[in-house]
C-alpha cells in the first residue's frame, strides 16, 4: 500500500519541531501531527536556551542547518556567554528567551518550510505492518500512513502532575496526557520506566519589588547561537537576583510531608542537577540560603520565572514560602509550581539512529528517551528526523560519533548506558572536549549537511566563504616562520634551538598576541577578527589536540568494527552470563560501544570479535 507521507512526526515540542524541519530539509514529504497548533514551540519550563554543553548542542544543531539556533537568536532577551574568562572549549552561549517570540518564530519557520505539512490531532495509536511502523491513528479516527514515524511526545506519556496531595493527569499544566500511545509502546514489549521533573510557580512581574533586588544584565555584545546570525537585534533585559531565607527554609521543612515528592506519592526519579526547593532544603540542610534568578518570561510579558525554586508543595505553602523571599513580600502567583511524572522508554531499546530495534520504522526523540531539556530534545529530534527521512529515501543513516559531536556523545551515552535520572548534557561527558567546541561546530559538521544534501543554499554559501578564508589564513600562518634570533628581534623569546617556528607555534607562547604577529607580517592584519580568533584557538590547543589524536585513532578503530543488527550474543561461546545479559540489553552496534558497557571485560570483547571474524570467514 502506498503511503501519503514519507515521515510523520508526532509532537510539536522541541524534538518534534527539529525533527519535522530536518526531515523536510532532507527532502522527505513530512507531516507534523501535534495536539494544538498554538503550542508548537512551547517552552514547558524555564524560557532559556543554551548553557554549558547545551549551548554546544545548539551550535551543532545549527551547523547541521537545524532551526533552534536561529529561532533562539530572534527571541533571546538576555544573551550571556558563560565561562567567558575561560578557554574557548568551555564557553557556553546561553540566553533567556521571550517565550512568545520563540513560539511565534518557531511556528512561522515551520509554516514556511517546504515539504512540511502541519496538522492538529491527538495521536492515540500507531499502525504496524508486519512489525514495521507505518503510520498513526488520531483519537477522532483519522489515519495517516507513512514510511516512518518519529515519536516526540515529551512528558505527555501517562503524564501525572503532582501538587501537594493533588494529582492531575496531564502532559503539561492544562494539557491532557497521552494514555493510548503509552499503552501502544508497552504493547511492543519495550522496557519502560517513570521519571519526574518539576517547575516553579510563575509570578506576576508587577507584584515584585524590583528595587530591592540586585540585577544581572545581559552581555554588552551578545554572541548569537547561529552561524547564520550576524547580530542580535532583540532588545536585551536584566533579570533580578534574590535568595531564600532561613524563614523560607523553616516553612518548607515544616511542611515537607505535604510535598508530593516527600510524601512518597512519586515513584519516578528526578534529576539531581535540577532539584526542587524541597530537595535543596532537605539534602543541603546546612545551607541557610539559595540563590534565585527572577527571569521575565518576555519583553511584554507580565510573568516572571523564579529560577531555582521548583516545588510541588500545596498552593498555600508555596504562597507562604515565596513571601519570605526578599523582593517577593507581596508577590502574586500567576500559576503554582508542580512536579510531573511521566513514562519514558529505556533508550537502550534504540539503535544509533534512535530507531526502536523492536519496532523498525519508529524513531523516538526527546524527553520520551529519558533526557531533559530543550536542547537535548532538539538535537535528538534533528537526528531522528534526518534518519527517518533517509530511511524512507533508502539512503544510509547519519550517525555522529563521540569524537565528532556532543550529539554523538549524548546518543551513545543514551543507547549504551541508559539513564537512571533525566539525562542532561555536560561538557564533562565529552572525552574530546577540546575538539568539540561551540566555536567550531560548523567546521566539524556543516560539511556533512552539504554532502548529504540537507543544507540550504544560504548556509552552504556562507560556510564555504568562511572555510575558504579560514583555509587561506591557516596556510598563511603555517608558511610564515621565524628563526630564534628573528623571533628575539620581534620581542618573542624562544629557546635558541635553531628551529623555525611558524605563526601557530609562536602564538602558543602565552605572552605572544596577534599584534606581535602582525608587527612581523603586516599582511596578516587584513584577516577578519573571526578568522584570527580561529587561528588563535588552533594555536592554543594544538599541543593537547595532537596528544589526543592517537587516542581518537584507537577509538575509531574499535568504532569501525560493526556488530550486525540481530547479532546473537547467546551464540558467542565463553561469555559470562553477566556480560551476555549486558550486551543483549544494550545491543551495541560497534565493538567500541560494547567496550563502554560497564561489566564487559576484555575477554568478552575478544570473544565477540572472534565470533564476528568467524562469521565473516564463513560468509566468504
Amino acid at each position: 500500500m502506498s503511503a501519503e507521507w514519507d515521515v510523520i512526526v508526532i509532537g510539536g515540542g522541541h524534538a518534534g519541531c527539529e525533527a519535522a524541519a530536518a526531515s523536510a530539509r532532507a527532502g522527505a514529504r513530512t507531516l507534523l501531527l501535534t495536539h494544538k497548533l498554538e503550542t508548537i514551540g512551547e517552552m514547558s519550563c524555564n524560557p532559556a536556551i543554551g548553557g554549558l554543553g547545551k549551548g554546544h548542542l545548539v551550535r551543532e544543531i545549527d551547523a547541521l542547518d537545524g532551526i533552534m539556533g536561529r529561532i533562539s537568536d530572534v527571541s533571546g532577551i538576555q544573551f550571556r556567554l558563560l565561562n567567558r574568562s575561560k578557554g574557548p572549549a568551555v564557553r557556553g552561549p546561553r540566553t533567556q528567551s521571550d517565550r512568545k517570540l520563540y513560539r511565534e518564530a518557531m511556528q512561522a519557520e515551520l509554516a514556511a518550510t517546504v515539504n512540511l505539512t502541519i496538522e492538529a490531532g491527538a495521536v492515540e495509536d500507531l499502525i504496524f505492518d508486519e512489525g514495521v511502523c507505518k503510520g498513526a491513528i488520531c483519537s477522532d479516527g483519522r489515519e495517516y500512513r507513512a514510511h516512518g514515524v518519529v515519536l516526540t511526545t515529551g512528558t505527555f506519556l501517562k503524564g501525572m502532575i503532582h501538587r501537594g496531595q493533588e494529582r492531575i493527569p496531564a502532559g503539561r499544566v492544562n494539557e491532557a496526557p497521552s494514555i493510548g500511545l503509552s499503552d501502544t509502546l508497552y504493547g511492543l514489549g519495550l522496557q519502560m520506566g517513570r521519571l519526574k521533573t518539576g517547575t516553579p510557580a510563575r509570578l506576576r512581574k508587577s507584584s515584585i519589588s524590583w528595587e530591592e533586588l540586585d540585577m544581572q544584565p545581559a552581555d554588552p555584545d551578545p554572541v548569537p547561537f547561529s552561524f547564520m546570525t550576524d547580530k542580535i537585534t532583540v532588545p536585551q533585559i536584566e533579570c533580578g537576583i534574590s535568595r531564600t531565607t532561613e524563614e523560607t527554609h523553616r516553612i518548607i521543612s515544616e511542611n515537607i510531608d505535604q510535598s508530593a515528592v516527600y510524601s512518597g506519592a512519586i515513584a519516578g526519579r528526578g534529576p539531581r542537577y535540577c532539584p526542587s526547593i524541597e530537595d535543596k532544603v532537605v539534602r543541603f540542610a546546612d545551607r541557610t540560603s539559595h540563590q534565585i534568578f527572577l527571569e521575565p518570561e518576555g519583553l511584554d510579558d507580565d510573568t516572571v520565572y523564579p529560577n531555582g525554586i521548583s516545588s510541588s508543595l500545596p498552593d498555600d505553602v508555596q504562597d507562604a514560602f515565596l513571601r519570605t523571599i526578599p523582593g517577593l513580600a507581596n508577590v502574586e502567583v500567576v500559576r503554582y509550581g508542580y512536579a510531573i511524572e511521566y513514562d519514558y522508554v529505556d533508550p537502550r531499546e534504540l539503535d544509533a539512529t534512535l530507531q526502536l530495534r523492536k519496532a523498525p520504522g519508529l524513531w523516538l526523540a526527546g524527553q520520551i528517551n529519558g533526557t531533559t531539556g530543550y536542547e537535548e530534545a532538539a538535537a535528538q529530534g534533528l537526528m531522528a528526523g534526518l534518519n527517518a527521512a533517509f530511511a524512507a529515501e533508502g539512503k544510509d543513516p547519519l550517525i555522529l560519533s563521540r569524537s565528532e559531536a556532543y550529539i554523538g556523545v549524548m546518543i551513545d551515552d543514551l543507547i549504551t548506558r541508559g539513564v537512571t535520572e533525566p539525562y542532561r548534557m555536560f561538557t564533562s561527558r565529552a572525552e574530546y572536549r577540546l575538539m568539540l567546541r561551540a566555536d567550531n561546530a560548523d567546521q566539524r559538521l556543516t560539511e556533512k549537511a552539504i554532502e548529504l544534501c540537507f543544507a540550504g543554499p544560504a548556509r552552504i554559501e556562507r560556510f564555504q566563504t568562511k572555510m575558504g578564508e579560514l583555509e587561506r589564513a591557516r596556510e598563511m600562518a603555517r608558511s610564515r616562520s621565524l628563526t630564534p634570533p628573528e623571533a628575539k628581534k620581534a620581542g618573542i623569546s624562544v629557546n635558541a634551538d635553531g628551529k623555525r617556528r611558524n605563526v601557530f607555534d609562536l602564538l602558543a607562547y602565552p605572552d605572544v598576541d596577534w599584534d606581535m604577529i602582525t608587527a612581523v607580517w603586516p599582511e596578516l592584519a587584513e584577516l577578519s577578527e573571526e578568522t584570527v580568533e580561529q587561528i588563535e584557538i588552533d594555536a592554543l590547543y594544538s599541543g593537547y589536540l595532537e596528544r589526543q589524536q592517537a587516542d581518537i585513532l584507537a577509538f575509531r578503530r574499535d568504532e569501525a568494527v560493526r556488530i550486525p543488527t540481530g547479532f546473537d550474543f547467546g551464540s558467542v561461546g565463553g561469555l559470562s552470563n553477566e556480560a551476555r545479559e549486558k550486551l543483549e540489553r544494550a545491543r551495541p552496534e560497534t565493538l567500541g560501544q560494547a567496550s563502554r558497557i560497564e561489566g564487559v571485560t576484555p575477554g568478552a570483547l575478544t570473544a565477540v570479535l572472534a565470533h564476528l571474524k568467524r562469521k565473516q570467514k564463513d560468509a566468504s
Binding site: 524555564n46 548553557g51 554549558l52 554543553g53 550571556r80 558563560l82 565561562n83 575561560k86 578557554g87 572549549a89 568551555v90 557556553g92 546561553r94 535568595r243 539531581r272 542537577y273 535540577c274 532539584p275 530537595d279 535543596k280 539534602r283 543541603f284 545551607r287 539559595h290 540563590q291 534568578f293 529560577n307 531555582g308 555536560f426 561538557t427 564533562s428 561527558r429 572525552e431 572536549r433 577540546l434 602565552p510 593537547y544 596528544r547 558467542v572 561461546g573 565463553g574 561469555l575 559470562s576 571485560t601 576484555p602 575477554g603 568478552a604 575478544t606 570473544a607 570479535l609 572472534a610 565470533h611 571474524k613 568467524r614 570467514k617
Partner: protein, 438 residues
C-alpha cells in the same frame, strides 16, 4: 608497527623457575642482546648466560626462540626461563624496557594470537576463558603482593582524583550556579600538590631500583668479641670472617653478598665498637660507624651475659633495627624486649633471625612497590600521571579546561591501579557537594 610485549607467565616466587614471554618484531634482537649474540636455533632451547644492556651477566637461563609466523602469537616469540628470584626477574624486565619492549596489556598475548589467526576460529569459543584467565592471573599477581598499605594508597589516589576533577569540572560545567564558588578549581590546588608528592615518593621509593642492583646493606655492630664475625659466617654459610677470641681481630670491613628473600643482600662485619688500642683499629672503628650509619639495616650484636653492652648498643640502634643476644648457649633463657636470642656457635635461633631479615628485605624492596609483573607498566603509568598532574597544576588558574584535560589523562593512565573513574563518579561528587540547580 606492532609493539613488542613481554609478561611473566608464571607466578613470581622465590624458588624455582620464572618464565618470561616476549612477542613482537623486536623479540629476536632482544635475544641477541641478552645472550651476547648467541640466539638459539629456531624452535630450539639452549642454556645461555643472560646479560643486561651494560653487558653485565645477571642469570643463566634456558632460552627458547620461535620465529613467526609459526609461533604461539604468530609473531616472533622468545621465552626466558630464568631463576625465579625477584631481582633476576626485575633485571630482565628492566633490560627489556631499555630495549624498547612494553609490558603486555591484559590478555594481549592471546588477543595477538587470535588476531594473527594462530588460534583456530573453531577454538574461539574458549577464547574468552583464556583471556579472562590470563587477565585474571595478571590481576591476581598484581594484587597478591599488594599490601594493605599499598592498596590504601591507591584508594587515596582515587579519592583525590575524583575530588580534584570534581572541582575542575564543577567550575567548568556550572559557572552560573549560586552555590558553586567562582574559583572552585582553586580547591584542587592543594590535593593536586599532595597527590603529585605522593606519586613522586612512590616512584622514588627509597632508591629501590638502585638497591636492587647494588644490594640491600646490613651492618653488624657491637662490642668486640660479641660474636659479630661468627654471626656473619653463619648467615653467609661459609667462613668469610676470621673468628678469634682476641678482641679487635676484625679491623677492616668484611662484606659478604648473600641472597635473602630473593634479593641481593650485603652484610658487613665491622670492627668492634670500643676504645681502639692502635691506629689501625681506630680507623676500623671509624669505618664501622660510617658503615653503620649508611646501612639500610643495622643488627646490633651483644653478648647475652653483658648488660653494659646491651645498654650501650640500645642507644646506637634505630627503631627498626634488630638486636641479637648472642651466646645463648652460655646464657640459656636470656631475653630482652624485641631481641633475637641465639647462638652463633650452635646455630640455635638463627633461622628466626634469618626469617626476619628476609621479611624486612622484601618489605623494603618490594612491598612498597608493585609485584614484578605489573610493576613496569604501572611505574610508567604513574610517571605519565604524575607528569600530567604537574602540567594540570600549572594550568589550574589560567585554563581549567586544560587542567581538566591533563587530569583526565592522569586518570586514564592510572586506571589499572585505581580502577575506573567514571564521569558519573565525578558528577556524583559535584552534585553531593554543591546544590546545583537553577
Amino acid at each position: 608497527m606492532e609493539t613488542t610485549i613481554y609478561a611473566l607467565s608464571t607466578a613470581p616466587g622465590r624458588a624455582g623457575v620464572a618464565i618470561i614471554r616476549i612477542s613482537g618484531p623486536k623479540a629476536g634482537d632482544v635475544l641477541d642482546v641478552m645472550t651476547a649474540g648467541r640466539r638459539p636455533a629456531a624452535r630450539g632451547a639452549a642454556l645461555r648466560r643472560l646479560q643486561n644492556t651494560e653487558g653485565e651477566v645477571f642469570d643463566e637461563a634456558l632460552v627458547l626462540w620461535f620465529p613467526g609466523p609459526a609461533s604461539f602469537t604468530g609473531e616472533d616469540c622468545a621465552e626466558l626461563q630464568v631463576h625465579g628470584g625477584l631481582a633476576v626477574i626485575e633485571t630482565a624486565f628492566e633490560t627489556l624496557e631499555t630495549l624498547g619492549c612494553v609490558p603486555a596489556e591484559a590478555g594481549e598475548f592471546t588477543r595477538r594470537a587470535f588476531e594473527n589467526d594462530r588460534i583456530d576460529l573453531t577454538e574461539a569459543e574458549g577464547l574468552a576463558d583464556l583471556i579472562e584467565a590470563e587477565t585474571e592471573g595478571q590481576r591476581r599477581q598484581a594484587l597478591a603482593q599488594m599490601t594493605g598499605a599499598l592498596r590504601g594508597l591507591y584508594e587515596e589516589w582515587r579519592e583525590s582524583l575524583i575530588s580534584i576533577l570534581a572541582s575542575v569540572e564543577g567550575e567548568i560545567d556550572f559557572p552560573d550556579e549560586g552555590d558553586v564558588p567562582d574559583a572552585l578549581s582553586h580547591r584542587a590546588f592543594e590535593p593536586l600538590v599532595i597527590l603529585i608528592a605522593s606519586m613522586q615518593e612512590h616512584l622514588d621509593d627509597g632508591r629501590r631500583g638502585e638497591r636492587i642492583r647494588t644490594g640491600f646493606t646490613i651492618a653488624l655492630i657491637g662490642a668486640p668479641n660479641a660474636g659479630k664475625s661468627s654471626l656473619l659466617n653463619k648467615l653467609a654459610g661459609r667462613d668469610a670472617a676470621i673468628v678469634t677470641d682476641i678482641p679487635g681481630t676484625t679491623r677492616d670491613i668484611i662484606e659478604v653478598r648473600v641472597t635473602m628473600g630473593g634479593y641481593p643482600v650485603i652484610i658487613s662485619d665491622t670492627a668492634g665498637l670500643r676504645e681502639a688500642v692502635d691506629a689501625v683499629e681506630a680507623e676500623g672503628v671509624k669505618r664501622a660507624l660510617d658503615r653503620a650509619v649508611q646501612a639500610d639495616l643495622r643488627i646490633g650484636v651483644v653478648d647475652a651475659r653483658s648488660d653494659e653492652e646491651l645498654a650501650d648498643l640500645q642507644g646506637r640502634l634505630h627503631d627498626d633495627d634488630l638486636l641479637v643476644l648472642n651466646k645463648l648457649d652460655l646464657a640459656p633463657g636470656a631475653s630482652a624486649d624485641g631481641a633475637y636470642p641465639l647462638s652463633a656457635k650452635s646455630g640455635e635461633g638463627i633461622s628466626d633471625l634469618e626469617a626476619r631479615i628476609e621479611a624486612i628485605v622484601q618489605e623494603r624492596l618490594s612491598a612498597r612497590e608493585l609485584p614484578a609483573l605489573s610493576r613496569a607498566r604501572h611505574r610508567k603509568n604513574v610517571e605519565t600521571a604524575s607528569e600530567a598532574l604537574g602540567r594540570a597544576l600549572s594550568q589550574l588558574a589560567a585554563a581549567p579546561e586544560l587542567a581538566g584535560e591533563d587530569i583526565r589523562l592522569a586518570i586514564r593512565s592510572l586506571e589499572s591501579l585505581t580502577g575506573r573513574v567514571d564521569v558519573e563518579d565525578v558528577l556524583d561528587r559535584v552534585f553531593s557537594q554543591f546544590c546545583i540547580g537553577k
